[in-house]
C-alpha cells in the first residue's frame, strides 16, 4: 500500500523542519520522517518534562528559532512520523519505511529532501569497545534526553569543540569532570583560525565554555592522545600519552587515569548512506568533513528531485542546516511552478550569502578535528576497528600487505563494515587508515557502499509488509 505526499523529508533537525515549514505554508502535503522520538534533531534535544518546569530564557538564538519552528510544525498540518527509519529509496521516489511499531510501509512523493545529519567520528584505541567508553555525543544525550550523568566522574578526550561543550554541561549538571584531554595542540588550532569573521562568535562561545572549566579547576591538557582503555568487563582506567607533530605516540609519556567513564570524539562524519543508496553522487571534501552528498546551488543532488541539506552536504553545524533547508524548499516551490524565478531569487539570495559564512565556519571546525596520518599508523594490531564484526587493525594490516587498498577491497577481504551498523562507525575510520597507508586519491580509495535496507530490519517485518494498513494514532492530517 502506498501513501502519497508532495514532499517527504527525511530527518527533522533544523534543515528538515525549516523546509517543512516553508513548503507547508504553500499548501504542500508534507511528511517528515525521523528515527528519534522527538522532532528537532540533536540541537533541540531536550528533557521530555522540561517544558513543565517553566520556560527558562534560551540564550542561543539558533535554538530559540529552532524551538519556534518545531512548535509551528507540531501545530501545523505537517505529518510527522517519529521513531521511524527509512530502509531504502527506490525509483519514482518510493520510500520503504519501518515505523515505531516495526511495521513496514511504502510512501511516495514528488520530491524528497534528505536531511539525515551527522554522526561522531572516532579514532580507535585498544579497549575502546569496553562499556564505560562512550562518544561525547552519547554523554551529552544522556544528560539532555534523560537527565542522567554519563558517570560519577567523567574523563573527556578527543578533539574539537564538542569536548568543551560536554565537559561544561557535566559541570552545569553537578557532575565531575576528571580532565579534558585534547589531542590537537595550540599551534594546530591557530592554523585553523585563518577563516574570516564567521568563526569569531563561535570562538567566543568556545571561550565561555573554557572559562567555566578553568573556574572549576578541571585539568586540561593538549597534544595528548587516548592510547588504551583498561578494564575487565568495563572501563577501569584510561592510558594517555603525548603525541608528536605527526600524531604519533611519544613513548615514555604514558599516564594512567583511573576512571569508569570516558567520553571521546573526534569531530563528525556526514550521514550519507541513505542518499548514496538512492543513487545520489557523493564526493570527498576534507574541508567539509569527508564524503558528502554532491548538490547544486538549489541543493538538488545528482538524482532529479532528490535534495540533500544540512550536515549530509558538509559538516558545519545547525546554522548551515537551517539555511539549506530553506533553500531547498524555495527551489522545490520554484521547480513545481508555485513561485516564479524572481521570488526564488529574492528569497534565496541572502540565504546563499549566509550559507557561505557557515561553510567558512565548517572549514574551521573540520580543520580543528583533522587527524594526522601518524595517528593511524600507530594503532596496535589488537585494536578493534569494526566493532560489529570484530575486525582488528591486524586483520586490516595483513590485507593491506595483500594489496587490498580500497574500501570495497578491505570490506570483501575482512568483513570490515558488514555488521549491524553497516560501516557507519568504522567506514570513516577505515577510509582514514587507507589514506594514511597509501598515496591513493580519496576517489581511488572509495567510500563505504550503501544498499537497501540501509538500517537493520527483521525478515518477519518485511514479510508482513503487504498486510499493513495506515496507522492513525501517530499521524495527523490526511495520510
Amino acid at each position: 500500500m502506498k501513501y502519497s505526499y508532495h514532499v517527504i523529508i527525511v530527518g527533522s533537525g533544523l534543515a528538515g523542519l525549516a523546509a517543512a515549514d516553508i513548503l507547508s505554508r504553500y499548501g504542500f502535503h508534507i511528511l517528515v520522517i525521523d528515527d528519534n522520538a522527538h522532532i528537532g534533531g540533536q540541537l533541540l534535544r531536550k528533557l521530555p518534562h522540561a517544558a513543565a518546569a517553566g520556560k527558562r530564557f534560551e540564550p542561543d538564538r539558533l535554538k530559540r528559532q529552532g524551538a519556534r519552528l518545531a512548535a509551528r510544525i507540531k501545530k501545523g498540518n505537517v505529518q510527522v512520523l517519529n521513531g521511524a527509519q527509512v530502509l531504502g529509496i527506490y525509483p519514482e521516489h518510493i520510500l520503504l519505511v519501518e515505523d515505531s511499531r516495526g511495521h513496514v510501509f511504502e510512501y511516495r512523493a514528488e520530491a524528497l529532501i534528505l536531511a539525515t545529519g551527522a554522526r561522531e567520528r572516532q579514532l580507535p584505541f585498544k579497549g575502546w569497545t569496553l562499556p564505560g567508553v562512550m562518544s561525547t555525543g552519547a554523554a551529552q544525550i544522556l544528560m539532555k534526553s534523560s537527565g542522567i550523568l554519563p558517570g560519577r566522574k567523567t574523563l573527556v578526550g578527543g578533539c574539537g569543540p564538542l569536548m568543551l561543550v560536554v565537559a561544561a554541561e557535566i559541570l552545569t549538571n553537578q557532575g565531575e569532570v576528571q580532565a579534558v584531554l585534547d589531542q590537537s595542540v595550540a599551534a594546530m588550532k591557530l592554523k585553523a583560525v585563518t577563516a574570516g569573521s564567521a568563526i569569531w562568535p563561535k570562538l567566543l562561545e568556545g571561550a565561555t565554555y573554557l572559562a567555566r572549566l578553568v573556574a572549576a579547576r578541571v585539568p586540561m591538557k593538549q597534544g595528548v592522545r587516548i592510547v588504551e582503555a583498561r578494564g575487565r568487563d568495563q572501563l577501569e582506567a584510561v592510558v594517555v600519552a603525548s603525541v608528536d607533530a605527526d600524531g604519533r605516540i611519544v613513548r615514555g609519556t604514558e599516564r594512567i587515569y583511573p576512571t569508569d567513564t570516558l567520553a571521546v570524539g573526534y569531530g563528525f562524519s556526514p550521514n550519507i548512506e541513505l542518499p548514496q543508496q538512492a543513487g545520489c553522487a557523493v564526493k570527498f571534501t576534507s574541508d567539509k568533513g569527508g564524503w558528502i552528498v554532491d548538490v547544486n546551488e538549489t541543493m538538488m543532488s545528482s538524482v532529479a528531485d532528490i535534495y540533500a541539506v544540512g550536515e549530509t552536504t558538509g559538516i558545519a553545524g545547525a546554522g548551515k542546516s537551517f539555511i539549506e533547508g530553506r533553500i531547498a524548499a524555495w527551489a522545490i516551490l520554484n521547480k513545481q511552478g508555485v513561485i516564479d524565478w524572481q521570488t526564488y531569487e529574492t528569497n534565496t539570495r541572502p540565504l546563499m550569502r549566509q550559507r557561505d559564512r557557515q561553510i567558512q565556519y565548517g572549514r574551521f571546525l573540520n580543520h580543528l578535528c583533522r587527524l594526522q596520518p601518524g595517528c593511524y599508523e600507530d594503532i596496535p594490531d589488537e585494536t578493534v576497528i569494526c566493532r560489529c564484526e570484530e575486525i582488528s587493525m591486524g586483520d586490516i594490516r595483513s590485507q593491506l600487505s595483500n594489496d587490498f587498498k580500497t574500501m570495497n577491497g578491505i570490506k570483501k577481504a575482512t568483513r570490515c563494515g558488514m555488521g549491524n551498523c553497516q560501516g557507519r562507525t568504522c567506514g570513516p575510520i577505515l577510509f582514514d587508515i587507507l589514506s594514511a597507508h597509501s598515496q591513493r586519491s580519496p576517489k581511488a580509495i572509495g567510500c563505504t557502499s550503501a544498499r537497501a535496507p540501509v538500517k537493520t530490519i527483521t525478515l518477519g517485518a518485511l514479510a508482513k509488509m503487504t498486510t499493513n494498513t495506515a496507522q492513525d494514532d501517530e499521524s495527523k492530517g490526511n495520510g
Binding site: L47, T129, E390
Partner: protein
C-alpha cells in the same frame, strides 16, 4: 551507589520495569539505555564471536552496540527506546 540522576531535573512519573527479572524503578521519558546506566547496568551484551562486553557507545542509534531484549523482542537499541511501565528488559549476564 552514586546516583547518576541529575537532582535538578524534573522527571516524569515513576514506573516499574524488570531487568533480567529484577524489579527496577524508572521514570517516564527516560530512554532504556539511560535507565540501565543509572541502575549500574553498564555491560548490556556480549559479542557473538568473542564474547566481549559492550555497552552504551554512540547513544544515538548509529552503532548498534547497546542491543538488549525488550518485551521478548531481541536486538533492540536501548538508546532509541523509551522506558514504559512494566517493560521487561533482558541484558546479557557478565
Amino acid at each position: 551507589m552514586f546516583d547518576l540522576r541529575i537532582p535538578s531535573v524534573l522527571r516524569g512519573a515513576k514506573i516499574n520495569i524488570h531487568v533480567n527479572g529484577k524489579a527496577l524503578t524508572a521514570y517516564e521519558g527516560e530512554t532504556v539505555h539511560a535507565t540501565l546506566l543509572a541502575a549500574g547496568y553498564r555491560v548490556l551484551r556480549k559479542t557473538p564471536k568473542t564474547h566481549q562486553p559492550r555497552g552504551i557507545f554512540c547513544g544515538m542509534g548509529v552503532c548498534y552496540d547497546c542491543l538488549v531484549t525488550i518485551n521478548g523482542a531481541p536486538n533492540q537499541r536501548a538508546c532509541m527506546t523509551r522506558v514504559e511501565d512494566r517493560m521487561e528488559i533482558e541484558v546479557d549476564e557478565i
